[in-house]
């Protein structure tokens, strides 16, 4: 067997090298997939960078969406904020007026992206409290923000009370939600949190995120209730979140997995350990002053509209107070701010945007795709091996610099051909192929050094020069001699030194 291998190696040295390279790649890929080692920082960055590029490509090539809600962003823009006299806290009277007008315009749901915990004018607070206390049970679902206080001495944060807690108690169509996302070390917000764990009066609780609650409402409006389960969307969400309630307030438990919404079955909303399921597939970048943002969708009242209609809040207040606001019927209405001093601006893979637009992106992604999924294990292995084999072939036949460009082009083609699956929520995590490629390179480099040390002995520590036959002549074995010739030949284009 060994003799046969040696014979094959001497007759086809390049093919032998290639086979060894591919075999090494396969072993590395299998080891990575089987043992799931902790992710290396450099690999995570490569994976994030690749996913960011895919998100940007998907955003630029998506012209229209089917089965998507339409949004209206009632925007407290700079002009509105100036008209209001640059208040430190969003005036509660203005919020009450906006909510009152929007609620009677028959939207699908209202998302108030303003933290009401901060105290405002007492009279205006009383007005808003009255409005919430008398909110019609038949009015659209109203989602409010619940911020959390991180207590350094406690394991779980404490919900920050608001002056409106009593007013909304027991109201089925008003829900406090968490607006939390996760910001990476480079300042970009790439991942969502579907819920927040907290502790109030020694009782653990789970606060759903605003994007999860809104997506549940949108999914049920678009796809209908699951067969045999006609419960309202938010009741189904509460049922789905029940398994994630911490046992007590004493500490964080191990991260749990489970499905929050399995309808439609092809696009479930699930909590998983993998990193991919937490990614926000952004589709709508921000543009100051734009009237509409994002791709085209079906308008709830017929015809087509852009995914997000942006309407200044000052105009919503200037409109006829006795009539519904036009154009809101059937849409998800988000009331929030884009004014420069809001402190609610965030970097994302598709640029800076106000927090309200991040929520819109998250709701849309959850409604369209559910939580992102990885391809099947078979597909992952195939893609990883394809990259390894491609890298081996390229480095065997091309100069390293040319091979690097060729491999980059190969990955570019892979991204382009897989974009339609990416848009449907299947996210190719290139972390494993990236680790494989790095380890593969490392393994090949080690093998090469071992061969050279065996051939050259102690002289290996000396810097090699061209026309230095003494070093090569020291090798007494013809196969090793051939290896060295091959190695030198393959790196000659880089100047002959390592």
């Amino acid at each position: 067997m060994v003799a046969a291998l040696k014979s094959w190696k001497s007759r086809h040295p390049v093919l032998f090298e290639l086979s060894i390279s591919i075999l090494l790649g396969i072993l590395i890929e299998l080891a990575l997939l089987s043992f799931q080692p902790p992710t290396l920082l450099v690999v995570r960055r490569v994976a994030d960078d690749t996913a960011d590029r895919m998100i940007r490509l998907a955003e630029r090539t998506t012209d229209r969406l089917t089965a998507s809600p339409a949004f209206t962003f009632i925007d407290i823009d700079d002009t509105t904020w100036t008209d209001w006299g640059w208040p430190l806290v969003t005036p509660r009277g203005k919020i009450e007026a906006l909510l009152e007008r929007v609620a009677r315009s028959e939207p699908l749901a209202i998302l108030l992206d303003v933290d009401l915990a901060f105290p405002g004018d007492a009279d205006q607070e009383a007005t808003l409290r009255r409005f919430l206390a008398t909110y019609d049970p038949a009015a659209p679902q109203l989602l409010l923000v619940r911020s959390l206080i991180d207590d350094p001495g406690a394991a779980l944060p404490v919900p920050r009370p608001t002056p409106y807690d009593e007013a909304v108690k027991g109201k089925a169509n008003i829900l406090f939600t968490s607006p939390l996302f996760e910001r990476d070390g480079d300042g970009n917000v790439r991942r969502w949190r579907l819920f927040a764990e907290a502790c109030a009066q020694d009782k653990p609780l789970v606060i759903p995120s605003m994007h999860l609650a809104a997506a549940m409402i949108a999914r049920q409006a678009i796809h209908g209730a699951p067969p045999g389960d006609p419960a309202p969307a938010l009741d189904r969400m509460r049922t789905g979140l029940a398994p994630f309630l911490p046992a007590n307030c004493s500490g964080h438990e191990a991260e749990r997995e489970g499905v929050i919404d399995d309808w439609p079955a092809a696009i479930p909303i699930a909590v998983a350990h993998d990193d991919v399921s937490k990614r926000v597939i952004y589709r709508v970048p921000w543009k100051t002053g734009a009237v509409g943002l994002g791709p085209m969708v079906e308008s709830p009242t017929g015809g087509e509209t852009q995914l997000v209609a942006v309407r200044p809040a000052r105009l919503a207040l200037a409109a006829d107070g006795a009539a519904p606001l036009p154009g809101l019927k059937g849409r998800i209405v988000v009331i929030g701010g884009s004014f420069a001093g809001s402190g609610d601006w965030h970097d994302t893979p598709i640029g800076r945007m106000p927090g309200s637009l991040m929520i819109v992106n998250a709701v849309e992604a959850l409604t369209q795709n559910g939580t992102p999924r990885e391809p099947s294990p078979m597909e992952q292995i195939t893609i990883s091996l394809t990259i390894i084999v491609l890298a081996s072939l390229l480095t065997s036949f091309l100069r390293p610099s040319v091979a690097a460009w060729a491999l980059a082009f190969g990955i570019f083609v892979l991204m382009v051909v897989s974009i339609s699956r990416f848009k449907s929520g299947v996210m190719l995590d290139l972390a494993v192929p990236a680790v494989g490629a790095v380890l593969h390179d490392l393994g090949e480099a080690v093998l090469k050094v071992v061969r050279e040390v065996r051939a050259q002995g102690w002289r290996w520590i000396l810097k090699p020069h061209e026309h230095s036959p003494a070093i090569v002549a020291g090798a007494g074995h013809s196969d090793i001699h051939a290896d060295i010739q091959h190695d030198v030949g393959s790196s000659a284009g880089e100047g002959g030194t390592k």
Binding site: R53, L57, R60, T62, E304, Q306, A309, A316, G343
Partner: protein, 292 residues
């Protein structure tokens, strides 16, 4: 080969084919109009619609203006400036292009954006003070310099220019805590405390930052003498309080916190008091009186 070319052409043309589906497309809204609503009509696909602020405009809608002196302002996608329609230019269908993205143009756009050659400066101005963002540095302009207050039993108001939560402690000489709290919202009142003549220390902390300052309490006789007109009972009490605060703040930066004590209690009910409270908290104070 011909089949491949046909497939590519069809693929590239697919988005445009979809756009040409004949469905009405929302392209903007009514921003304002200067006459009663019944002076205008939006005709959409032959059907007259009422005009209202924020009423959607569909591609091809016709605006009719009945009053020769009236005009209506529209905001449309893809246009930075508003479109104004009056009797002079009414009757023309309103159209505009919703930005279209084909796969190939998007791919080209993405590829060219990925190969950035020139450095695009991406700096922006940031503020190192706090304003509702817990990660920003704590700033309390009121305590920029040591403050002098009048001794006696009263609640002390402390303000900072942010709704964020802070930890406040006021300590006597020797380190004994006299008052403490964990307020948010930018304004806090201690309980009524009998402040003795002497030196106290105040500490305000948030997010790892701490602001410390000295509070010097003095006897009432040592305080700046108030003009007689400020104690005129004929003037309304909130007005006198605001004027007294303005006098203290203008007289010396060391009396800004003392000035706050006169207006903070009325900040929720009196607009002048609220404005002066916010100004003092932001570190602004009236100009000193002119020298005699």
């Amino acid at each position: 080969m011909m089949r491949w070319i046909t497939a590519i052409v069809l693929l590239a043309a697919a988005p445009f084919a979809a756009l040409a589906s004949g469905k009405p497309v929302e392209i903007g809204y009514v921003e304002s109009f200067d006459r009663p609503a019944d002076a205008y009509v939006i005709v959409s696909d032959g059907v007259a619609k009422k005009v209202a602020i924020l009423a959607p405009i569909l591609n091809g809608d016709v605006i009719e203006v009945k009053d020769p002196a009236a005009s209506i302002t529209l905001r449309l996608v893809g246009r930075d400036d508003p479109m104004i329609i009056s009797a002079a230019n009414q009757g023309t269908p309103v159209t505009t292009e919703v930005p279209q993205k084909s796969f190939w143009s998007g791919l080209f756009d993405w590829t060219s954006a990925s190969v950035e050659v020139f450095d695009e400066e991406q700096r922006e101005q940031v503020s190192a003070s706090i304003r509702g963002d817990d990660e920003k540095e704590l700033s309390v302009p009121l305590l920029a310099s040591p403050q002098t207050l009048v001794a006696g039993k009263r609640a002390l108001a402390i303000g900072w220019p942010s709704p964020r939560t802070v930890e406040i402690r006021i300590l006597k000489k020797g380190g004994q805590v006299v008052a403490e709290g964990r307020p948010s919202g930018g304004l806090w009142l201690t309980p009524a405390i009998d402040w003795k003549v002497g030196t106290y220390r105040i500490e305000i902390a948030a997010g790892g930052d701490t602001v410390r300052q000295t509070l010097q309490f003095i006897g009432p006789k040592k305080a700046p003498k108030l003009p007689a007109e400020l104690s005129d009972p004929a003037a309304p009490a909130p007005l006198r309080a605001s004027a007294t605060a303005a006098f203290y703040a203008a007289s010396d930066p060391a009396y800004v916190l003392e000035a706050l004590q006169y207006v903070a209690p009325d900040a929720r009910t009196s607009r002048p008091a609220k404005l002066l409270t916010l100004a003092l908290i932001d570190g602004k104070r009236p100009a000193p009186p002119p020298a005699p």
